[in-house]
Symmetry: none
Subunit: 215 residues, 4 copies
DNA sequence: GATGAATGAGTGTTCATTCAT
DNA sequence: TATGAATGAACACTCATTCAT
């Protein structure tokens, strides 16, 4: 944007090269994991070369970390864009669950990166920029909904915000993470809109049922 | 005792060697995945040699498949051992959820193998013996509880057995599968009994809330 | 012959086992050479086991030598069976060339073994039983025809018997040995009777032309 | 001189490395065949490493194919360098036979590669560059001599050019290909000039006798 | 005579990474 | 910034051969 396209602006090309590598690496790491992805293959699918990967990222692991970082940046931004403050708590929670599920469905590569990271015992996650704030951010947003719901009288008391987050996350994550084994074992294609719709409703109902004040 | 199955003259060493390899491989594949595990390393931790791995399993992938098979055999047997027929449906479902969660907690290597398999798009799961029956088995056991609950008047109607299974599985699986990222991000150790206890109660309550007949 | 078939005669079984191994090994070595053939594969195609190969032959190389020996025994016997003494020299030579060509065409495995042996610089041929006599045998049979032809006045004088043998052998051997490269390069299938017939006539004519007394 | 072909900036080392590997591989494959040659051994005798073999050739088979290609390029060039157009047909044919024999004698590695290829049923020959033209090239050069000989009245009519080529090739090829078995069986060293000379004369005479117009 | 299990050295191949230019 | 060539350690896999029974 700062550099016109026609001019051979060095710094712009650098960013573009970096972004190009990152984009390719994201696909490869998500698809095959850290051990399964090949630097050669990533380089080949890139507009630049293997040497540039090392120039910009230093090592395979660092490149992996950068991809992980980008993935968490993606969900952070998506979450930041949501504004359910004006809705009643029940509706806000419903909207939150739906958006969360939609994000997972739309970003299977994020789900796969989180799976990969768990296979590596979250070895690389600590170094990811912005990860330290994620806890407070998530808890705060859950707490806000809970507080409103309790104030409105629609939520029961004693709901733990982190517990609620994990519950929602479990239901959304699993649907994408275990897509293939579910399909093989149960013949259920979790990417099929006709399969998603009722499951989506069920997930929302499950979450709402767990917070509702029981008469 | 050493000559099982009435097969006389069959050397016991073969079975022992095979089992030893499988045991070591299970640990390695669960820990590092198919691409990350090393045949050399597996062989070293074995009482036998690399050559024997190929003698008994033919290839790395076949060994992986055998480990996968063993893992699914494990959960199948665990499920077969449970008998909640005499309990009221609510209690049976509670017991089922608790046992399912306990199995996942006690067998993180099973969870990791399922994760690995999803990373490989369930490429090897189709060839696993007994996997074809898993669908009917799981659905049947859920349906039995649902039928009883509806008959007893404690469950609402219209519950889909597979939906119920996926809901339970999501909540139990995620707790183990995402153990490391959860710990890193939220400082919550999902292997700590003090953390498990309330989460376990919450999961049970969530499931029960979703099937209960609402007044 | 000494042991009736119905009796479990040890020594007879031994011979049969040995012969069976040799038969399979002959095919494998001829097809793939010493380095290319696999003991495991030979054992599999055998009615007995890998252990027996070592029991009877000691090593892969010894087995190869035994196959080589069998091949040379085969051509020796075929040559011993021919009797052209009563024919005029020209006819005897023609018959000899034709029979030689036919033998090569009928026994490509012999040709291949000789090729293999030349690739190994005839390393194993020295130890082959009966190979020492081959020189005199071949020279004698050529000399007999030459002598008769000269006496009859149909052959020129000064023909070297070994030279004549090599000439015949060249023309017959090449047709089988280089069958595949000829087919690929010239599109000529040397195993096709329609291709063989004129080539056979040409070879005979070439040999006869080279010994005939020129007017 | 180091920057050949006018390709600026092209490192000379690459070509040198490639050629070095090819040279060593040619010796090894000719000596031991595809299965018998060892990549490790080839690498050791090279100025570079095993890794470079795969960098430039991709696989053992591809390296073998490259060697085969180089061998056929060698004989093609040698044949292209000959010019017997001004000689009478008889002399031209004599010169052709002598040159062909000389080439085989001087390039036993070519003969061995052709043997190897026939052992592999010419599996790799199809992919060799330039092999498709060999047929027409060879036939054309034989036909030219035949036509001249017939026109001059020194050759009989009805000579098939491919037949003539195969006859010449048989006699020349065998002398090198079966060198070792001949030496072992007949005590005749086909690499010894004293042995070659009369055999060479005999081969020439055999070929000439087969094309001469018989009075 | 015969069998299945076992072995160590090797065999082709691939990896992430670095160097020279 | 960028490129092609180079590297050594590791990698999955295979071989001929032998042992215990």
């Amino acid at each position: 944007m700062t550099e016109a396209d026609g001019r051979p602006g060095r710094s712009h090309d650098a960013d573009a090269t970096r972004a190009d590598i990152l984009r390719v690496a994201a696909t490869e790491f998500a698809a095959k994991g850290l051990a399964g992805a090949r630097i050669d293959e990533i380089a080949e699918k890139t507009r630049s070369s293997k040497r540039m990967i090392y120039y910009y990222f230093g090592s395979k692991e660092e490149l992996y970390r950068a991809v992980l970082e980008q993935n968490y940046a993606g969900i952070r931004e998506a979450e930041a864009d949501r504004h359910f403050e004006d809705l009643p708590a029940i509706d806000a929670l419903r909207a939150h669950v739906e958006h969360t599920l939609d994000y997972h469905l739309a970003h299977p590569e994020f789900v796969r990166m989180v799976m990969n990271e768990n296979i590596h015992q979250a070895q690389h996650l600590g170094g990811v920029e912005g990860i330290r704030d994620r806890n407070s951010r998530v808890v705060a947003s859950m707490q806000a909904i809970i507080d409103k719901g309790v104030a409105e009288g629609s939520f029961r008391s004693g709901i733990n915000p982190l517990e609620l987050h994990l519950q929602i996350s479990s239901l959304c994550f699993y649907m994408v993470s275990n897509r293939y084994t579910i399909n093989t074992i149960f013949g259920l294609n979790m990417a099929d809109p006709a399969v998603i719709a009722p499951r989506r409703a069920a997930i929302v109902e499950t979450v709402l049922a767990s917070v509702r004040r029981t008469a």
